[in-house]
Symmetry: C2
Subunit: 145 residues, 2 copies
């Protein structure tokens, strides 16, 4: 069980922009800071923009910045958007399910409850919590001024 | 985010044997009941045997049965064994992690807490809960006598 790399990168981009506050950042800069390819980041940034989490300022000197306050962006909401598939087992998708015991089996309900507990935990945190000052400041590791 | 097919099949095999109580079941029979290939089931059964959840009676008229009581088998424990990789994001494995901000980032801690909530929910259920009688008995769907 793991999150997609896409979710991982999305959260990292939001954390980067969160540390930048209102300063603009570029994809090149984020790519260098994390060692993630531009191609991966382009897709991530596009989708985060569509979701309303970040905005792009075009033209010379342009770049990216958060479109919402740090404490308005819930980690759970981001993960719900970036994880395309939260079907823990086959029977979560009744359209494609082939398991014959689905109508009587209690497993799906148990797994759904566990998933709710997982997401409820993530809903208890915002982007502000992720970038809060720790022993070693994140901004230092990302070489931000 | 999803569980491996391997975890899904492992839980299904245990449920099948749970409904059989002390009667022996064969891999062929389980394969037909769920429409899962014998090859997949062989591996699942082997590992469930190694984990001490089921035992094999060899020879003519032999087969499989649970090696523990239904209410002694916790769903969480099964999933911990069958999910080879619970590294939700890259930095969970410090040996292979390439993310540079790991030492300062709070994301890992948040995801670990969410994973604990997920597993704690599963630990609240046993195999007995999964096969408990529901509107339509599981045994009927599996054509068990």
């Amino acid at each position: 069980m793991r999150l997609t790399r896409y979710s991982d990168y999305s959260l990292r981009v939001l954390m980067y922009l969160g540390l930048r506050r209102n300063q603009l950042a570029t994809i090149d800069e984020i790519s260098k800071a994390y060692g993630i390819s531009r191609a991966h980041l382009m897709k991530v940034v596009h989708e985060l923009g569509r979701a309303g989490y970040l905005e792009t300022v075009r033209g010379r000197g342009g770049g990216l910045r958060l479109a919402q306050d740090l404490d308005a962006i819930r980690v759970g909401d981001v993960v719900r958007r970036t994880e395309a598939n939260m079907d823990l087992v086959e029977c979560f998708d009744t359209k494609t399910n082939t398991c014959r015991i689905e109508s009587a089996c209690a497993l799906r309900g148990v797994l759904e409850e566990a998933l709710e507990a997982f997401m409820a935990t993530l809903d208890g945190y915002t982007l502000a919590d992720l970038v809060a000052r720790r022993r070693r400041p994140l901004s230092e590791l990302l070489s931000l001024t």
